[in-house]
């Protein structure tokens, strides 16, 4: 359903009245943007559907309220998938929410993150202006890259209405191998060695002394990898459970136990996710942008998109 007109009108009205809006997609991550007191909820979940999809162009254009699961299914019908593997909380997350959060999934270290999949978008800024940036082609450097600036913006800069996203062919085959390693560092060295030798590694997690590595590609290359890497074949559903946060870790916790994804770049605990050098993000309260680096610059960027503070959340009010 196309709700863009209603969404744009609501933002424009809030800007004119000096009131606040709190954005809500499917509600799978209610902590992503803490609403300001008195904020009106702007519901985006109905604004869903695939607008344009030509598999030969490797691009899909979707409304932001489209669920990841629906998008995955539509792409799979044509033998394709999104290159990113963004977390799908409870299997209910929308593509708009996934981009606004910007968390890349297991495939990211080998195939790029959310921002590497975003080719363009349509958005409403804090003044209720209907804007389009980027486009539907892989290479596009006209104007500043606002589409990718929106990745991780947590709803602070505007409402994402539509996204054009890069898609890739589904691999011919996928295979998950489990191998014992004494520590994360040793497993990382092994994975780097395998990628260096051209094995098509598409994911690597480490927990409880076990490395799980996923290989995606041509059958011949996977067979060669299996012969050389050793280990035990495991169920590919491991990655789906990780993506949907359905792993036991997320339900009853492991105390201080950690699960490393993306060959150590992402560290999950039962209560948080940490990527690289960044501060850990709580799974209860979401990214605290007050802790983001370059806070002064970010404040000016927020001002440039939302001068009236329509999307300003509680803690920044």
């Amino acid at each position: 359903m196309d709700s863009s007109k209603a969404i744009i009108e609501q933002v424009a009205a809030a800007a004119a009245a000096g009131t606040r809006l709190s954005l809500r997609g499917a509600g799978s991550k209610p902590w992503m943007a803490m609403p300001a007191a008195g904020a009106t909820q702007l519901s985006l979940a109905q604004h869903a559907g695939i607008l344009q999809y030509d598999p030969a162009e490797l691009v899909v254009v979707v409304r932001a309220g489209t669920r990841l699961a629906d998008l995955d299914a539509a792409l799979a019908e044509q033998g394709q998938m999104l290159a990113m593997e963004a977390p799908d909380f409870n299997g209910a997350s929308t593509i708009g929410g996934a981009v606004a959060l910007g968390w890349a999934g297991s495939r990211s270290v080998f195939a790029g993150g959310v921002r590497d999949s975003v080719l363009g978008l349509r958005m409403v800024n804090g003044e209720g202006e209907d804007l389009r940036f980027g486009g539907q082609v892989m290479k596009n450097v006209a104007g500043f890259d606002v589409s990718r600036l929106m990745v991780g913006s947590c709803g602070r800069l505007g409402v994402i209405l539509e996204l054009s996203l890069k898609v890739v062919p589904l691999p011919e085959r996928e295979l998950t191998l489990g191998l014992a390693f004494p520590d994360l560092a040793a497993s990382q060295v092994a994975v780097r060695d395998w990628t260096g030798r051209g094995f098509p590694v598409s994911a690597a997690s480490y927990s409880e002394g076990r490395l799980r590595v996923r290989l995606s590609g041509r059958a011949a290359a996977l067979e060669a990898a299996r012969a050389e890497l050793g280990g035990k074949a495991e169920d590919n559903s491991w990655w789906q459970a990780l993506r949907r946060l359905e792993h036991p870790l997320f339900h009853h916790g492991w105390g201080d136990e950690k699960l490393f994804d993306c060959n150590g770049e992402v560290c999950w605990t039962a209560h948080s996710r940490r990527r690289g050098q960044a501060a850990p993000v709580s799974l209860a309260s979401g990214p605290d942008l007050a802790k983001a680096p370059n806070r002064a610059l970010l404040a000016r960027v927020e001002q440039a998109f939302d001068p009236a503070g329509v999307f300003r959340p509680a803690e920044a009010a």
């Binding site: 030509d54 082609v137 290479k139 890259d145 990718r148 990745v151 991780g152 011949a220 501060a279 440039a304």
Partner: protein, 487 residues
């Protein structure tokens, strides 16, 4: 209507006290880092698009980050514009000096600061050449993927400013997809580091491709990739442009994503063959150069699939490079296509539109019609795999009106790209060159959002003024001409 600076249409440049500027810079920098004599400034009057030239007031060649900060502080206090220049190989006048400003050249900031082979990252200064990064990390079995044809000369700082691409973008992406962090001197003289891991809006993504309007990159951490163990390069000939275009689409649709897939038409391939002796078939109407890389078993499987697809699309011959020497020769022909075509006429003008892949045939037909209309030959060399065109318009600038005709033909091609759902620039940037077409591709509200984002980084508007984002007045003027022509 020309894209050249016009005080009726563009924002006025500030009035600068040249003597005060020179003495302030001289106090802050070593004597040899400040060039102010006309004969010293002349080599910097243009970038890789030499039809547009201007002399800066002063050229500075800082050797340290502190010196860059000192230049920025001087310019901010005196209200002087700064244009940053890397190696000057850009093709959109992004580094063309501003007459009332300082040209800051990063070529002396050319150190590889550190290489972390384990993390596959290299931290380099902006003046390091693109190819020098791959050379420096080759001993670790690594390389830096984006490979513009100018990679021997172009600098990583310029690559970041323009979000440079190359011939292997189809698989490896552009600069944006291969940079981990950038440290920037902002207009307030501070150092700001932006990384892929930062919380919040992706400032690093916004900085990459900002064409020198947001800040001056003084350190770039690039991601490195393992050198693929197996590579196959195929030279595929066609006797029709339509078959060649179709081969590109059917390959992608079949799920084969080569590392690179380059197309050359007959004029371009003959010029390249005469220039580089690459072994191209001179009688072909068009050729594709396709590269597959990865694990040996993957490459073998994909090569087989690819050959079937090419034959099904009507390929007349397929040759696979026998060894690295022949592969290098195949690529030499492609990478020297611009200078090779340049030998055919005194001047050439290179375009950079991108279109959806299935429109390649249509846009090439259109280019042919417009080429006949303006009586200017056009050679086509481009990144077919990602729909990024590089039509080369040939002309003789000494012929009255020829440059204007070439610019007119270029504008027609760019506007056709927009009409087909594409963009005016895939990898070369807007700079000054495509400033008018920005008014066609973007609305007033979108352009105004760009201006406001620019002010968030550079409130005084001193960085690369007049580039990339046209003024409202220029947009109105150009759109009225554009709609008259369309009607």
């Amino acid at each position: 209507m020309s894209g050249n600076f016009d005080q009726q249409l563009d924002d006025a440049l500030p009035v600068v006290d040249r003597a005060a500027l020179i003495s302030a810079l001289a106090a802050a920098l070593p004597a040899e880092a400040v060039l102010a004599e006309p004969e010293q400034l002349r080599p910097f009057e243009c970038d890789g698009l030499p039809t547009v030239r201007a002399l800066p007031l002063v050229t500075v060649l800082p050797e340290t980050v502190e010196q860059v900060q000192a230049v920025v502080n001087c310019c901010r206090e005196l209200g002087v514009p700064i244009v940053t220049r890397g190696a000057g190989t850009g093709l959109s006048c992004g580094a063309t000096p501003v007459e009332a400003g300082v040209l800051l050249v990063t070529s002396r900031l050319d150190a590889v600061l550190s290489i972390d082979a384990e993390a596959r990252l290299a931290r380099v200064q902006p003046g390091v050449r693109n190819l020098a990064i791959s050379d420096a990390v080759a001993e670790f079995g690594l390389f830096y993927a984006p490979d513009p044809s100018s990679q021997l000369a172009c600098s990583i700082g310029g690559n970041v400013a323009e979000n440079a691409g190359g011939v292997h973008c189809l698989k490896y992406g552009l600069t944006i997809n291969n940079v981990y962090a950038v440290t920037v001197v902002t207009m307030d003289g501070e150092l700001v580091e932006m990384t892929v891991d930062d919380l919040g809006p992706d400032l690093l993504a916004a900085f990459i491709g900002s064409e020198g309007l947001f800040g001056i990159a003084v350190e770039v951490t690039v991601k490195l990739l393992p050198t693929p163990p197996a590579v196959e390069t195929l030279l595929v000939a066609f006797d029709s442009i339509a078959d060649c275009s179709r081969a590109v689409s059917t390959t992608i649709a079949a799920g084969v994503i080569p590392a690179g897939m380059e197309m050359m038409d007959q004029m371009a391939l003959r010029a390249a063959e005469d220039f580089a002796r690459a072994g191209y078939p001179r009688d072909a109407t068009a050729i594709l150069l396709v590269e597959l890389d990865g694990h040996a078993d993957t490459v073998a499987a994909e090569r087989e699939a690819l050959e079937q697809l090419m034959l099904a699309a009507g390929a007349t011959s397929i040759r696979c490079a026998r060894d690295d020497a022949e592969r290098a020769l195949f690529w030499k022909g492609r990478k020297s296509a611009f200078p090779a075509v340049a030998r055919l006429m005194p001047d050439y003008y290179c375009m950079d539109g991108t279109i959806p892949r299935d429109a390649i045939g249509e846009v090439l037909d259109y280019i042919c019609i417009r080429s006949n209309h303006y009586e200017l030959p056009v050679a086509n060399v481009f990144h077919a795999g990602d729909g990024n065109l590089h039509p080369l318009i040939l002309f003789d600038a000494n012929q009255p009106g020829a440059l204007e005709k070439a610019e007119r033909l270029g504008a027609d091609i760019l506007e056709k790209c927009i009409a087909l759902g594409g963009t005016i620039t895939g990898e070369h940037g807007v700079g000054r060159e495509k400033i008018n077409q920005m008014a066609v591709q973007f609305s007033d509200a979108e352009l105004d959002q760009f201006r406001r984002l620019k002010r968030a980084f550079d409130p005084q508007g001193l960085l690369n003024p007049g580039k990339t984002i046209p003024t409202l007045k220029r947009c109105q003027e150009y759109r009225s001409i554009f709609s008259e022509r369309a009607a």
